[in-house]
Symmetry: C2
Subunit: 320 residues, 2 copies
């Protein structure tokens, strides 16, 4: 399935967002330019920017405002990925995979800060204070979610409810803001703004749940990372939480958290794959997609709405 | 010398900035609240916010705009200090001192991001797009300066010119923005805005040079950190660069960089203290203060201008 087909009426305009992202790599300090080349390599799906543009289609579709906004969403996302690569001494021993392991921690932090600065600058180009503050609040929520994930690493006293709250902050909040921001900049009604925010939030929840399922069931080559990487980092996600629920007190996840061992991790992955846990997890993702669909009902039935509707299929069917 | 006396006409208004900073610690997630309590303990000098308020005294002194702006400056500064505490595996062995060593790297990064988000939110409260973009550009310049410092660590092929460029980005740019931002928000003339920016930039250069001198000549108890900490981290500053200039090819700094040893570091510190290098460095700081004074000449002679004028004495005379 090609996402390009699914972005419908905004597909061509995404090239302008890509152009903005590429322009950020033009910097007069060679070492920084080289690092940006790595993290803004281009050719990404631009899913979040596409949501921003699609959300803007229901109002005044002004690309001079929507393109910087969409670029800002992508930069916020990429900068947070860069910061996720910062590691602690202990983590390296656990073999935590990182995207940018070529850079030192200190440089990785500054690179991420530089990208946050550009995200702030792009959103400021909308001239819209409401959207600017929406972005700063989103970064607060995202970092709270990440801190929650850090502080509960290797802690098996978590519930599905904790998990949903955590991914709501870490992931869904930015999808919600991508949609809401587009609607605000396009000066849509409060009802539509709220509907698009709800769509984005539920879309983001489904997106993260599928991500977490694929970490167990995916193909390592397609994903470009080892299966079981969440457990390797001590992060409980929906499949491992369901596994623990089904085998309280005696399961490889808790044993692995008590004393990390490769064979316990492999056993946990195997147990998830052999059960209907992936299916149960997909059911939950599907229910978030259903809520996303429901939110769209107040919007006019046009190509943008159909594209948003169909994008949930992509989320459920993606393999990487 | 008490700085409180020197902040003159804005001294009392700084309490409002402090109040804003304290309010940011009120957060519904206890672990984050505890971390903010550490890094926003209060009782700091608030030098940068004071500059913002003083700069605003030459125009429409509206505290509803100037207080969030001043809080944003301080948050940007504090967040960058938090991110400076992120370390690499190798650095811990070199005994790099950190303020927040209680936190893990990953948590330290997210804590800093959270504070950047608040900095962005505070500056957005001015409703002034020009100032908002000034802040995002300043963060870009600051991070470039920090990356430059990281990438040239333990590299003895640096010059005083490189050093001045680096501290211009890392430190002086925020002082410049603190002043310029205050003037812009207070709707002053472009001439005054430029004058206050020039004042802030040169003030910041002097501030950092004195900081770097004190790292050699200061009292460990007063400073709360060991003497020679810059060299310990592989950072060349003005005194060590002058030492290398005077003893090309044979000096403890280059030897230490080639193979770090405590006795070489102690020898470098000793050599700087015994010569007139601190004096020569102070001369350079004084010349930046003179340029800062000069910039003030276009402004009306009132208590705010006198406070800015006198603050350079504090910079030159401070012991920690």
């Amino acid at each position: 399935m090609k996402t390009s087909i699914l972005f419908g009426p905004v597909q061509e305009d995404l090239a302008r967002v890509e152009g903005t992202l590429q322009s950020i790599k033009q910097v007069d300090y060679a070492p920084l330019a080289e690092m940006l080349e790595v993290v803004l390599a281009g050719g990404g799906k631009l899913l979040r920017p596409a949501l921003t543009l699609l959300a803007g289609r229901f109002g005044e579709y002004n690309l001079d405002l929507l393109v910087p906004l969409a670029a800002s969403v992508e930069l916020l996302h990429t900068a947070s990925l860069v910061h996720d690569d910062v590691i602690d001494g202990a983590d390296t021993r656990r073999g935590r995979p990182t995207v940018n392991s070529a850079f030192h921690n200190t440089t990785t932090v500054m690179l991420g800060d530089y990208m946050f600065a550009h995200a702030a600058d792009q959103v400021a180009q909308t001239g819209n204070i409401r959207v600017i503050r929406l972005f700063s609040h989103t970064l607060m929520v995202m970092t709270k979610g990440e801190i929650g994930q850090d502080l509960t690493a290797y802690d098996s006293r978590q519930t599905v409810r904790d998990y949903l709250q955590r991914i709501g902050g870490k992931t869904a909040s930015l999808f919600a803001t991508a949609c809401q921001g587009g609607a605000v900049v396009a000066q849509e009604s409060e009802q539509w703004i709220e509907a698009l925010r709800t769509y984005g939030y539920n879309f983001g929840m489904a997106f993260q749940i599928v991500d977490d399922i694929l970490d167990f069931t995916g193909d390592e080559a397609e994903m470009g990372k080892p299966v079981g990487s969440d457990l390797l980092q001590g992060t409980l996600t929906l499949p491992s939480l369901l596994l623990m629920e089904r085998h309280p007190g005696d399961n490889p996840v808790q044993k692995h958290f008590a004393q990390p061992r490769q064979e316990l991790l492999a056993q946990a992955v195997e147990m998830v794959r052999e059960t209907d846990i992936p299916q149960e997890s997909y059911d939950m993702a599907r229910s978030f997609c259903a809520r996303a669909h429901e939110a769209l009902s107040v919007l006019p039935d046009d190509p943008a709405r159909r594209a948003l509707y169909d994008l949930t299929d992509y989320v459920l069917e993606r393999r990487s």
